[in-house]
């Protein structure tokens, strides 16, 4: 019995018990459903063992949408607690757990997989490739992310949730001040998904460098692919660093090392330092793909070539480099001298320059354009002014001396929600709607889509704008309640009402997916938006081999120029296509990773060692298997039949 006591929740409440029952019932329903409809084999063959970048991308997006829901529920709970002064819906411990979960889930398990989903689906299609460079590594990346996410999500029902914030600062996160296993969960789940992220970075850089279609030069890549290139360049720099920081933190908690302790030569602020050397580029890892998505959508629906292609690329590269040298602006108040703060302050403000260039380029693209107000375009247009508010308040925060006033207030919370929600969430929703027909072969309903857009766009401001004011008035972030005398009550109530509207907007979005899946027409052709890049030149949904013959590219708007000037993109004859085999090893290996991480969290060292050996056994197995695993071939006749079926029906 003593063995099982460690899995008990240290600070239970009715809500947690209800969630346990809910999780148990949902899992049971899934198992029964899969068995009843005899879908186990289908699930295993078509999805779990797949190495197809499009399917992996869809799984990423599905996971991201589920995590979006979870993060949203957390957010609504936070706003419910803060709606009125001295509220008692959540106690301080639960409030800590909920805001920690909200931050980690939204950044690591919602925004990151959403990014990888779109990257997986679109990048190979935009460069005219049949797959990514390492399809099996891609599957491992996905399953590592998935296992990390699941590990994080079981924390609040098994052993206790992390409660030290998404930044998990030491000494608060140390064994002494956070004695439950919650922070162990944080360390291990981020370690797993971070490992997957690093592999994705390597995989897509190799893909973009070496697998471009004949004639496609780097300076002709569509802007989305350029954004992916610089994003992955950032990933390979900072994720190894984060892995080290997480390992230090985990070792401090599990093995008694002295990295971030207060005595014995340890230095608690080193965690903050390492965290933000990773954390600041991380926010650019999220925002740069968004810039790419907006560039694609704005150019498509303004019906003009993107204004200033070269300056767009140059500014993205500049942002990449600058984002590596600004991290200390997250802790101006740590106690370092004026010189250090000045250097980081100036570097931070400098980022506003390339970002400004991008904003003006988008505006210049819109100028004289024949703008079509489709839903993806609406999200993109709403982004520009809203993000601008986030950017300008960012410059305010960048001034080191002024930051001593704003630091850790709701002003900061408002600032980063103003950058991340329009900058990242709007972009990913816009991208999802834009590329949805390419993934599934039907469009999402425009009318319902516009309802959800207006709900989110309006109530986003209702929710977060009041926080600028309460923040300047001195409301601290991460405080679970406030007294009536502070006068924060009315504005907080407005913010909470806004949160309901915001949640409603996302529910309408989910309803749109449901409605469109059932009722939208399937006969939409390969290019429903009249778009510009290569992914629109092949059937929707895309066949497994992507391109029957590789496209020959002459410009950065390859498909648009082919349409308007009548080039032949596909002059080659159909040949046999070589494809990689599916494999269950990535999934099995990642399940073993999950078991290993779980046993480390609960200090079960023998099982952890056994899991490590299991992981190496999977790698060794693959090493030998690769000598005679040559994949399979799709024959010419089969390709021609598929193309005839997919294109014929649509023409």
């Amino acid at each position: 019995m003593e063995f099982f006591e460690r899995f008990a929740v240290p600070h239970p409440s009715f809500a947690i018990y209800a969630s346990m029952v809910g999780i148990a019932l949902t899992s049971l329903a899934i198992v029964v459903g899969l068995t009843y409809f005899k879908k186990w084999g289908y699930l295993w063959r078509e999805w779990i063992t797949t190495v197809d970048h499009k399917r992996i991308g869809i799984m990423y997006i599905l996971a991201a949408l589920i995590m979006l829901l979870r993060g949203l529920v957390d957010a609504v709970m936070l706003r419910a607690q803060l709606a009125i002064p001295d509220n008692t819906i959540l106690d301080s411990q639960h409030y800590n757990e909920v805001f920690s979960a909200h931050g980690v889930i939204m950044i690591m398990f919602m925004a990151m997989p959403f990014l990888f989903g779109l990257m997986n689906i679109v990048t190979p299609l935009q460069i005219g490739a049949r797959d990514v460079a390492f399809p099996r590594l891609n599957a491992i990346s996905f399953w590592l992310f998935f296992m990390g996410a699941m590990l994080f999500n079981i924390a609040f029902v098994v052993g206790g949730a992390p409660d030290a914030g998404w930044t998990s600062y030491f000494p608060l996160a140390s064994e002494e001040f956070s004695p439950s296993v919650g922070t162990n969960y944080y360390m291990m789940s981020l370690q797993l998904s971070g490992l997957g992220t690093l592999m994705t970075g390597i995989n897509f850089l190799t893909t973009i460098f070496r697998m471009r279609a004949p004639g496609l030069k780097l300076m002709q890549l569509p802007m989305f692919t350029w954004a992916m290139l610089v994003t992955n360049v950032l990933i390979i720099a900072v994720f190894p660093l984060f892995a080290v920081a997480l390992a230090f933190g985990a070792m401090d908690r599990m093995f008694g090392t002295q990295f971030f302790t207060i005595g014995n030569g340890g230095m608690d602020m080193m965690w903050a330092n390492l965290f933000w050397v990773w954390g600041h580029p991380e926010v650019y890892i999220l925002i740069l793909p968004a810039f790419g998505i907006y560039s694609e959508i704005i150019s498509t629906f303004a019906r003009r070539n993107l204004y200033g292609y070269k300056s767009m690329v140059a500014s993205m590269v500049a942002i990449t480099i600058l984002s590596l040298v600004v991290w200390a602006h997250h802790f101006y108040t740590m106690g370092q001298g004026v010189l250090a703060n000045s250097i980081f302050s100036i570097a931070t403000m400098a980022i506003a320059v390339p970002t400004g260039i991008k904003i003006f380029n988008w505006l210049a693209t819109l100028r004289k354009g024949k703008i079509e107000f489709t839903t993806p375009m609406l999200w993109s247009l709403a982004f520009i002014p809203t993000f601008l508010i986030g950017g300008v308040t960012g410059v305010m925060l960048a001034m080191a001396s002024a930051d001593f006033q704003y630091h850790n207030t709701m002003f900061l919370v408002a600032h980063f929600h103003y950058t991340i929600i329009p900058g990242v969430v709007y972009a990913f929703i816009a991208g999802l709607i834009y590329w949805w027909p390419k993934m599934f072969g039907f469009m999402l309903n425009e009318k319902i889509g516009k309802v959800s857009f207006w709900l989110v766009a309006i109530f986003f401001n209702v929710t977060f704008f009041p926080m600028f004011i309460t923040g300047l008035d001195g409301q601290a972030r991460r405080m679970y309640t406030y007294s009536e005398e502070t006068g924060f009550g009315p504005l907080n109530l407005i913010a909470s009402i806004g949160a309901i509207g915001l949640a409603l907007g996302f529910i309408v979005l989910a309803y749109n997916i449901y409605w469109s899946t059932r009722y939208m027409p399937r006969n939409i052709g390969s290019d429903p938006w009249n778009a510009r890049s290569l992914e629109w030149s092949i059937p929707s949904p895309v066949p497994v081999y992507n391109f029957a013959t590789l496209p020959h590219v002459k410009s950065s708007q390859a498909f648009w120029d082919a349409k308007t000037k009548g080039h032949n993109l596909f002059p080659d004859k159909v040949e046999e296509i070589h494809m990689p085999n599916n494999s269950g090893v990535p999934f099995i290996m990642c399940v073993i990773f999950f078991i290993g991480a779980f046993s480390l969290i609960f200090d079960m060292i023998p099982l952890a060692i056994a899991s490590l050996i299991g992981v190496f056994a999977c790698m060794a197995y693959r090493s030998f298997e690769a000598n005679h695993d040559h994949g399979y071939h799709i024959h010419v006749k089969e390709i021609e039949e598929t193309e005839e079926r997919l294109r014929g029906a649509n023409k």
């Binding site: 460098f209 070496r210 360049v233 390979i236 720099a237 660093l241 230095m267 602020m269 080193m270 330092n273 050397v277 590596l324 040298v325 991290w327 200390a328 740590m334 106690g335 370092q336 001298g337 004026v338 010189l339 250090a340 250097i343």
Partner: protein, 93 residues
């Protein structure tokens, strides 16, 4: 047999041994901190260069521009991380 020991490999090996001995000077002689660090930096980066160019064939394939850019970028990031951390924790604390 001579084929198995190509000249530039042997030269590279001898060169790396010489550089190691030179680096040892900082322990053997009583040098100023600046001089010692200069010797260590120069010998270490030259060693890395020997490995990269002579042994790892970094420049032999069609991807050599990508490979060198990749390595230089990451060395830049490494220097930024190290100097930035030292600035925050030692030089300006």
């Amino acid at each position: 047999m001579a084929q198995l020991f190509p000249k530039h490999h042997v030269m590279g090996f001898i060169f790396s041994l010489v550089l190691t001995v030179v680096a040892m000077a900082v322990v053997v002689y009583d040098l100023s901190y600046t001089a010692a660090m200069a010797i260590l930096l120069i010998t270490a980066f030259m060693q890395a260069g020997v490995q990269l160019v002579m042994f790892m064939h970094a420049g032999e394939s069609e991807d050599k521009v990508t490979i060198y850019t990749n390595v230089i970028y990451m060395v830049f990031f490494a220097i930024v991380t190290i100097l930035g951390t030292l600035l925050l924790f030692i030089w300006d604390m």
